[in-house]
Symmetry: C2
Subunit: 546 residues, 2 copies
Amino acid sequence: MLGLMQNRPLLISTIVDYAASCHGERNIVSRDADGLIHRTTYAVVAERARRLVSILRTLNVNFGQPVATLAWNNFRHLELYYGVTGAGRILHTVNPRLFAEQIQYIINHAEDGYVFFDPAFVPLVEQLVPFLPQVRGWIALCDATDMPAVKVENLLCYEDLLAAAEADRDWPVFDENTAATLCYTSGTTGNPKGVLYSHRSTMLHAFGACATDSLAFSACDSILVIVPLFHANAWSIPFAAAMCGAKLVLPGPRLDPESIYRLLEQEGCTTAGGIPTIWLNFLAWLEPRRSSLDLSRLKLKRVLAGGTAPPRAMIEKFRDWMGVFLLHAWGMTETSPIVTVGAPLAKHDGAAPAEILDMQVRQGRQVYGIELRIVDAEGQALPHDGQSVGELKVRGNWVISGYFKAEGGRVLDDDGWFATGDVATIDPDGYVQLTDRLKDVIKSGGEWISSIEIENLIVSHPDVFEAAVIAVHHPVWQERPLLLVQPRPGSNPTKQSILDFLSTRIVKWWMPDDVVIVESLPHTATGKLLKTELRARYHGHLAVSD
Amino acid sequence: MLGLMQNRPLLISTIVDYAASCHGERNIVSRDADGLIHRTTYAVVAERARRLVSILRTLNVNFGQPVATLAWNNFRHLELYYGVTGAGRILHTVNPRLFAEQIQYIINHAEDGYVFFDPAFVPLVEQLVPFLPQVRGWIALCDATDMPAVKVENLLCYEDLLAAAEADRDWPVFDENTAATLCYTSGTTGNPKGVLYSHRSTMLHAFGACATDSLAFSACDSILVIVPLFHANAWSIPFAAAMCGAKLVLPGPRLDPESIYRLLEQEGCTTAGGIPTIWLNFLAWLEPRRSSLDLSRLKLKRVLAGGTAPPRAMIEKFRDWMGVFLLHAWGMTETSPIVTVGAPLAKHDGAAPAEILDMQVRQGRQVYGIELRIVDAEGQALPHDGQSVGELKVRGNWVISGYFKAEGGRVLDDDGWFATGDVATIDPDGYVQLTDRLKDVIKSGGEWISSIEIENLIVSHPDVFEAAVIAVHHPVWQERPLLLVQPRPGSNPTKQSILDFLSTRIVKWWMPDDVVIVESLPHTATGKLLKTELRARYHGHLAVSD
């Protein structure tokens, strides 16, 4: 027997309408490349977003077809977030920081009919145009006076299109499983793969984000959105904020610490979301200025950090300097992204500061809507005891079921779990601690050894500049850790001094089977250790040295 | 094009599983009629709830069939909340305070196969049994030693059934639109009508309840659930609490102020939900004890009040005595129930206390997921200007689409709006202020006059004990207000003194066309003014008096 309740599709347009009708005057603040502030409101953003429905129709972008954006965080990008999805078209947010070849691949793969771009990206656009035969037009996100001199066919002006368009009175209504946004994962191997979010997944994820133990947004919040709109739905902030009528502050391209500080202060930001790198820079800039700036004027209460783990010292500085709680969240493009959020439990009420910090440095607890588990090499679920180490798998309504155009083939196991590629422990309270990437973990006789933990330890040795721990083949244990060390300039550490240093800090069976002192370690273009190359080079190392 | 995200049905069992796996040790505290405390956990409740799946199967309660409860707020009732719905059966929570004839009608109408009852309700059960031929068995919510001596066929013991049952390993999976719970509205006219909630509506409503600007539950909360589990899903607290792992405190039948106070204190309750009557009694009891009780030991931060409007003085007392924020919410059985919640906006940060009180006495703002509007007599939408008065209509995924078995016929208009029967204003910030019931409002020449507002004013006249304002027929204006006044014992107000009193307080066209001094006013069994009788008696009053 079915219930007798209304059943209306979960569509993104309903949150835009909610924000416009219940929080119509709430501000959306953008700062452009020149530092100029632009103010608009949910009511105006929603009205302009509804004009996009007829613009897309006129441009012959049909229901279910994608358009791309190359844009920073600003109100026009936000209008596209709501307008393109509300129209039932797909918003493909492209990361302009990728190599031009990757962008070219992504836009061709997605078959985007139009690209909406910030004028700042003219050089990139000119580079891309010859290689994007399917793009029928380029729409500059500016008004007529700011139109860039760019040699492309069918260059259109966003503001002119809007001025000429009429706003549809009602949003189209369609199946809530319809695709809404598309975001490619950069991926360390192979081509980028697309994640195609649905309206249903986006809406349930936004509900999850608004929960008190999640991002906890409220109508009282003013949110500085540093995380880019092209990065996994900007952690759902544009949707969750509209769902509760929070003020949005969009910083544009300037993310230097002083610009961030000024926005926090001027716009009364209560919360701000960005990756730890941004916050490291911010705190470094702030440290010598703490006495001259009146930090008590800030209304900042919470900082959201994700992407990588924020260091403990960062969490302490936010707490001690500003009384700000750093909320550490974790997820992936494939998970919309919110999986875990580091919200406290009742037991943390009155707990020692160190215990609260211990909690905050972890990746957080799963929010309702996500299921997660850790499994061993045979796929058996492991206990949540804070000790057992296994691959993290997730499941839920905002987790991918497959990549766009079936790239990468099947991504779920028989029970519907998505393997994150991360290795983790889960403690009895549910807090997840990532320990390694699965490809970097050393599988020694059925047990797992974290390469990252050993690396993090040995870099505190005074003679070590950088270190890499990789798995090398072992006839008995299958894999054993090999430690590669690049000494600090001028120092000359011995193998034994390295091993002695580690021996008091890790269990015996984690001890590297050998230490190799090297002149330098190979890195990727983005500065990460190139372990694939090291593994290939040292694969037979133990056999040779024995 | 559809998105490529997982699509799992929104089932109540998923929140039970979440609570059991992520907050397994979190307490569910019940107090029985004797004041004894029983403690259990989400893990145990979930395990016992899963045993109910096989119990219902054994009892031949099939998928989609209802069972009834006659029970106070306790852990066994909570287990039925999760177990019966999780099994895909329908949980019909019956209000044991109704007249036996109403209960009999309701259980027969619902066709409940079994009734789960607290032993305290034995007298009621014995009264009901002869009239409930479809009930195949009665299950006492107790263990074997507490089994009541009650003469019914097929009397079963809940704890014996549980002890004999095995917990199903996995919950059944089914369509999220499947019926989950059933609750009858008492209704002032005609027979009670059933509202049949679905899993989808219940889950979306629970998401709505967990939002920061809504009930804002968190894992850190300990929630005293005074609102009965048989009253509109207890405002969704059992579902929302499990969704975030909040501790639940279930007070059983004893709702006297001292019992409430002890639970608040002993269980570290951070929030508590109940109707204003409960809180009026509580505060009256507390007032002379404020100095002897150490109120600082309470962890209470918020009180949820709904059902009727909490008086301003109540809100002030909670604030001044305990630093507690009274969160005023509004809804109906037909709306799951949450429609509006009185959460503050950014503008209230630092606002004058009186302004915040002005906000709190209103019914609150609509939460995302609910659409609402006020319409005039022709059904035209009125502006949200805080002045325009119209009938309140609501729409959304947790609003009824029709009553059980189509009682009452069509309940939605052509655009899907449900008419609440309430008359309200909505201010530019979205705060709703109920002004009257539609049936009591006076429709004078196309404008509406609130009977309640005039009644509330005139009872502050020193000579007035009680007053009723009703619509009487008028040849020109269709309806005009007639004021009936019952004087205070010993006083003898004149018609003119009453009118003089009002004339400085309401606009001229609201002034009653006549005042009748009466000896007494008729009331319903529950103490409400019986306006139907007054309207019948005075229908032609103006024609006669002119």
